[in-house]
Symmetry: C2
Subunit: 408 residues, 2 copies
């Protein structure tokens, strides 16, 4: 079961003025599950995206980038699960384009006003006819109140739908932000999430939204990992419908900071939800690396810890086998690291100081903290002023089971 992940979902997902969502059970891979999602946006919406750095990026990712470059008038998003349409070459591009053509005709917009997204098995052809056949049903039930259905429609190995909402005040106007995400395995920064969609009804300039999404990604989806595998299809979208009646938010204004921070909070909650629902996860681990020379080396240390199967299995077993953390710090790739300066904390317990076991440390302290479901690992490098915090989960029998069984 996901680690402490009931809370965000029992909170109602608030409608965002102008954003309509519709879904269908199109049998893309499995029967009787929501697997096609259509999102429509009003004229005048700003849309910004961040996509996977994987060189094998999927056909829909390529097409999304093209459409975003071609037009500022994105009016619809189309998502299917069950098939990633990745590793599918020219034919994959053709089918992604076909799906955009079909939706654009049904909605009476241009084909490049549609952004396509796919998630699921790689290296298999997209059953585009099934996706297209699902569109009329999805369009039929387009509705502003469909966020929870939408969160369910984009799930693959996710156990729970993931979403959250916020309301903030911008110059006396109430602005709503709602976001959903999916992802559970093949999770690693650059971008980390498989798919994320965050919408607000605030008026924001296109350039401000692009600055905000880069800021938010860096603090959220690029700070999580489940298994170190970067997906071919990762995409995060931010949409602003401009229907609240606030003055358009421009870069650098006070409202910009308020809106940026609220959107970033939503992104962090969605990113953390992916880790809490990480495949087989039983523990949620926060890894903080402090006082490094720069952010890059802090990241290296944090990810060496977060990716180590030995550490992740020890956390699964609630075993304070903390020497494995020192070993990971040692091979993180900082050539001039002076291990004799380094301190390691588990929660608030000092485990190692100056590179060796702390004199005050007794194993019972470590064992008590390891029993918790949310655990902080804190490394103090004592060689600079930069910090980083990332989030990951443990590595259990169920991770193996889920990924051994995924296609069966």
């Amino acid at each position: 079961m996901p680690v402490k992940l009931s809370a965000p979902i029992t909170t109602a997902l608030l409608p965002v003025k102008g954003v309509k969502l519709g879904f269908a059970k199109a049998h893309v891979r499995k029967p009787d599950r929501k697997d096609v999602l259509v999102i429509t946006l009003p004229v005048g919406s700003a849309v910004a995206g961040v996509f996977t750095q994987n060189r094998f990026c999927a056909a829909p990712v390529i097409l999304c980038k093209t459409h975003l470059a071609e037009t500022a008038g994105i009016r619809a998003l189309l998502v299917n699960t069950g098939c990633a349409n990745a590793g599918t070459g020219e034919e994959g591009i053709k089918r992604a384009k076909q799906s955009c053509d079909a939706l654009s005709m049904l909605l009476d917009i241009a084909s490049n006003q549609v952004l396509p997204f796919s998630t699921g098995v790689i290296l298999e052809p997209l059953p585009v006819d099934k996706v297209i056949a699902g569109m009329p049903v999805a369009i039929e039930n387009l509705n502003e109140d469909n966020w929870l259905n939408a969160a369910e429609a984009i799930m693959t190995t996710d156990i729970v739908p993931k979403g959250t909402s916020r309301q903030i005040q911008l110059a006396g106007k109430t602005v709503t932000i709602t976001g959903i995400s999916k992802g559970s395995g093949m999770i690693h920064p650059n971008m980390a999430t498989m798919l994320g969609y965050i919408a607000t009804d605030a008026a924001v300039s296109q350039s401000a939204l692009e600055v905000i999404i880069q800021y938010a990604v860096k603090k959220s989806f690029n700070c999580i990992t489940v298994d170190g595998d970067t997906s071919t299809n990762d995409s995060l979208m931010m949409m602003a419908t401009n229907l609240t009646g606030n003055t358009e938010v421009a870069i650098g204004s006070d409202d910009f900071i308020v809106l940026r921070n609220a959107l970033t909070d939503v992104a962090i909650e969605l990113a953390q939800a992916i880790v809490r629902d990480g495949e087989g996860a039983t523990k949620f681990m926060t890894v903080t690396v402090e006082s490094g020379k720069d952010e890059t080396e802090c990241r290296k240390v944090a990810y060496a810890i977060a990716h180590s199967p030995l550490i992740k299995t020890a956390f699964f077993a609630s075993d304070p086998n903390l020497g494995r953390i020192l070993a990971a710090i040692g091979y993180a790739g900082i050539d001039d690291l002076d291990v004799d300066k380094l301190d390691l904390y588990l929660g608030n317990v000092l485990v190692a100081e100056k590179g060796g076991r702390a004199a005050s440390y007794i194993e019972e302290q470590g064992a008590a903290i390891m029993k918790e479901s949310d655990i902080l690992v804190r490394v103090v490098l004592n060689r600079g002023n930069d910090n980083i915090t990332i989030w990951t989960c443990d590595f259990s029998y169920d991770y193996v089971k889920i990924n051994a069984d995924y296609r069966s």
Copy 2:
């Protein structure tokens, strides 16, 4: 069970003239197992070593390097399992030194003629009194025929002892090479093995042996990975006792090539044995990356595949979910990779060509190969002339079980 690993061990491990091995059950961590090993070498032996690149290298590794730098007259090696003596600070160095002092007095040699090695749990103090108490028994049973006992004495989570022998002719003289290794988890290049000891009775100059060990490591232990964790204690030693009566082998001679290749063969067999006995392994995977621009990028691609938990669990399940391999190639970190040029083979079956699913590929072909216990993954980048081959294993329930239970 290890993957096809009965063969090397049923082969008798041949004595190497002048190399004596003795063992004891010293109760370092667990009762009733061989956990202390002493190896003695005759005067005039050449000894070379390669050690972990982990910044948190263990106290014995630090001391080994010091002793090798101080003297060309190494006469004894001391190994204990059960405790790695890593992450133990100044006290760890002191205890490693104490153990060398004790053995040197018993053998009537200088303390810096002893090389110490430890393997086991990190961040716990070495019970040096137990190690010292075991020495008289180990010295009592010093014998040239003890290689199999020695291989058993250095095991931790290993299921089987690992060793192999070769005989070659150097200018009419029969030269014997015997090696043993241990390691099963926390296995990743730089150096990869936890511990390896390879001895020959050939006469080899110190400088020639140092060139050979670097060559051999690059082709063997630095080409394997189980879980991507680089140990704090990795050490490979090569020893030559100079008792065969051959002319001393010097760098660049014909005999040098013959001896180098034979020692490298032994190193490769020992390295592969570690993977075959990888924690929880059910499949042995050979990953070959061909026609890359340089060796570095071939290595990046090979290790991205070999480290991916998603690929390793799919292999465990015999599931030809081969899109995961394309995804790993895509995130391997080659920024200018043209995925449209790339071919992927599973065994001799073409799975993907020019970056997409091969028209000729049918899933039954992939499924048939996935049922084998030894599987070749072959990536052809079609962008240069460099190649690399590495070895790894799959990721099973038992990996999680072994590492969740390791200290209990």
